[in-house]
Amino acid sequence: MNSYLGLVSEYQKAHKEKNRLTVICIAISVMLVTAIFGMADLSIEAQISAHIRQKGNYHAIISGISDSIAEEIRSRNDVKTAGWIGMAEDTSYQGKELFIQGGEQDMAGQMTLVVTDGAYPASEQEALLDRLALAQFGISIGDTIDITFSNGQVRQYTITGTFNDFSGLKGFDAHGLFLSVEGIRALGTGMYQEYFYMQFKSGVNINRALSEIKAEHGLEENQVSVNTMLLGLMGQSDDSSMVQLYITAGILFILVTMAGTFMIASSFNMSVLERTQFFGLLRCLGATKKQVRRYVRLEGLRYSLKAIPIGLLAGCALMWAALLFLNILNSQYLPEMPLLQISWHGIAAGVVIGFLVVMLASRSPAKKAAKVSPQAAVTGNISHTNNGQINQASNTKLFRVDTAMGFNHAFSNKKSLILIAGSFALSIILFVCFTVLIDFMGYGLKPLKPYAPDITIVGADNTILLDRSLMEEVKTLPHIKKVYARMFFYDIPANSKQGDGNAVLISYDEPQFEWTEKMLISGDIDNVQNGDGILIEHGYGGESDWHVGDMITLRLPGGTHEVTVAGILSDTPFNAENDEWILICSETTFTALTGRTEYNIIDLQVDEDISEQVRSFITPQMRLLDKQQGNREARTAYYGMAVFVYGFLLVIALVALINILNTVNASVSNRMGNYGVMRAVGMSGRQLKRMVTAEAAAYAITGSIVGGVLGLLLHRFIFESIITSNWGALWQPPLAVLAVTIIAALVTTFASVLSPTRKIEEMSIVNVVNAG
């Protein structure tokens, strides 16, 4: 030992267990911060790449500028790439809708157009056609096609290549023709709109750059629009709903940081205060107050050096475990995401927060340690509790002495109570607040409904009906999970006690009735499926107040019929236009009322792509809407976010669990001396257990009450700022989540008492008592 500070390492060697508890506490908080920030980082990256994949990689669009201004903008230092993309009016080719676009190759590539075969069009007579169109129309690369535009002009294009499938095209049974810039411009004024797409270099303040561009070239506000979603994800949006999201992220950031801070501060506080006597001894042997403070700080530094790397590693491991776990659950829908990613932001946050908090946390115990009177330390005339002075005696009148002392341990020192109960409370608040993200995800990224079809067959317009034989034919195909169809009868003048209205009658078959059961608010579906009743959607805002048993008179072409409301639905897959009443009935009822048997729409859910086989059954008057790719993309986006939201919750739950276990353990370890004396004067193991449980319960109950109240308030605030403001949904107290969280916290607390009390029972009373 070359300096008095060498005692730090000697002391730590001699007290490995106590040392370990403090190191674990710091490591846990670093783990929490690293895992949460790391996951947030990866989540944003995943969202950005999903958004770019779906919508293209651009930051802003400018319209109505000349080529020369465009060139000037393109040559700016902060612009990475820019180019023209034009859109012509839609037209049709061989009876199918044809979207026509064109643009510069670089920018088209950024907009996710990938030439899979052939070459990008070079002249105004050249074009790319989507892969499906080549197959469906029997066109090969090098062929020439004639396209008729809405103004009557007919243009001839040589197909130079084909591009990747777009879900947008397949979902509408439409095709896409992609031209060069020259090609789109050759259509003539009024036939197309052209936009200048821009992508800035990374690190550029995009809003400022756009303001400069606007000012420099005298552009109007409406000439420039930004990619709000992408800028939002990059943290650069000033859009009000994005700002609300940033505030929410900020609150969650502060909560995570606070949780980390509380955990470290409480463990450090306990570790230093229990050694008041030791520090007194140092003072007695001649250490100055400054030296004691320096000693405590060096100790903190050593703890950090040991705990932070452990925390970082554990944080990354936890993040990987969460990703892996959720990946296994939803492997088929997850976006491609390397599992063993490292988030440098998360690691940096872990290091900075861990180090700063330990250093800050060591300030106050260092001061307290320095204040210990040397005389008090050596004569033993000092409080044995680690938690400083006790100002009030235990209430042995209200409670038994063991319980009373347990409560007294918890409540006698406000600082410890705040730190320990505070870290309990923060765990609860964190968990409750992060669950808002699940609701947010539910609203923001519509998960696929169970009734979402993969393939839909529909008439080119409402008058074209599908014969029942088509349904039977389709059913014979392999890889079909479900086939279901609907008949529609629009614009039926109707009357009920609510007054006159317009109704749409829709028929359901078995699978659809099954899905509908979950949306039934009142009534009975059986009376509809097997009887002649109808289901009606409960209107929003109470403007339509339907009851089971209400009669509706329908004036159908075949005569007037009365139907009875047999069930009220909370929601239907249909949007009522002009306040129409949406009436759902069985196929038998539909045919009895309207005399019709042909379907308007047939839906298929499949487990393999059989769109080509289905296509072989349909006539040119029908359209095949292939939503498989779109569904896949929607699922990917949903699960991509779900991975992180549930990952956050998993991490928080785990950390809260470990934190509670460790806090109780540390609290008991630090009072070991006290417990020894109690054992010596006759306290039994059971009584000690009761005392420790009372203490832990006091922390857990106080923490749960504070955490519950603050958690609810914050939950409401976050819910209203990110959900109510966007979708109008009203806040409901998340009582189930709160109850589960609190019960979990309490159960963990009581479970965590088991191991330390066993330790007390097994300890040697002699060593403790003689240690003074």
């Binding site: 005339n381 509790t385 005696a393 042995t396 063991d402 010596a680 006759g682 002699v766």
Partner: protein, 227 residues
């Protein structure tokens, strides 16, 4: 009749070459009401012996009988309750419970039995120990001598047959030491208690009925103080 019988107690710490024999075949007995002083050098094994008698530690071999009960045959729970009701401890470092008041500290062993302390008896102890004025005070608000008096009160509250005191005056000045010892003696006389006390203080040892000397783990009965 002997209240305490110690038969062939051995205590060895560690094993093999590092084994340390703290007590070597110690046997003696103490009749009821006797005041015994245990003297010896530091590290001679006095405290180990006292811990064995109080069943705070278990011997490697041998047994201890208190009032005819063999303490090491009891299970932990039974032993705890036996200790609580029959043995009073007084430690050099007082070892009071910081979160309990003077009165609660004294009544603590009774409270552990979930019984109401006998008010008159608590009052009597407080009076004998001159602690009436301090009954609501917490240990940290007391002087060392006062804290040791509270510890004595705690040792007396259950009217134990045996009081074990490990250098109870070690942290006190001579005036406080004399006071504490005379209080202990008065109390033991009044309540017919047996006291075994470790001390380094020769004048205190000289007031004992009998002196036992422990040297290198071996006990010698010096009889009445002979110096």
């Amino acid at each position: 009749m002997n209240l305490l019988e110690v038969n062939g107690i051995c205590k060895t710490y560690g094993s093999g070459e590092t084994a340390v024999k703290a007590l070597k075949d110690v046997s003696f007995s103490v009749p009821k009401g006797e005041f015994v002083a245990v003297v010896g050098e530091s590290g001679s094994g006095k405290s180990t012996l006292l811990n064995m008698i109080g069943a705070l530690d278990t011997p490697t071999s041998g047994n201890v009988l208190i009032d005819g009960s063999e303490v090491f045959r009891m299970n932990d729970e039974k032993l705890t309750i036996f200790r609580r009701r029959n043995i009073g401890f007084i430690f050099q470092a007082y070892n009071l419970i910081p979160e309990l008041s003077v009165e609660q500290n004294i009544a603590f062993p009774v409270l552990l039995d979930y019984k109401k302390p006998d008010k008159a008896y608590v009052e009597e102890i407080l009076t004998v120990l001159a602690l009436q004025e301090r009954r609501w005070h917490l240990p940290r608000q007391l002087s060392g001598g006062q804290q040791q008096r509270v510890a004595i009160g705690r040792a007396l509250i259950t009217r134990p047959m045996l009081i074990l005191a490990d250098e109870p005056t070690g942290n006190l000045d001579s005036q406080n030491s004399n006071e504490v010892i005379s209080l202990l003696k008065t109390a033991s006389k009044r309540y017919q208690q047996t006291i075994i006390m470790i001390t380094h203080n020769r004048s205190i040892a000289s007031t004992a009925d009998r002196v036992l000397q422990v040297s290198d783990g071996v006990l010698t009965d010096l009889g009445g103080y002979a110096e």
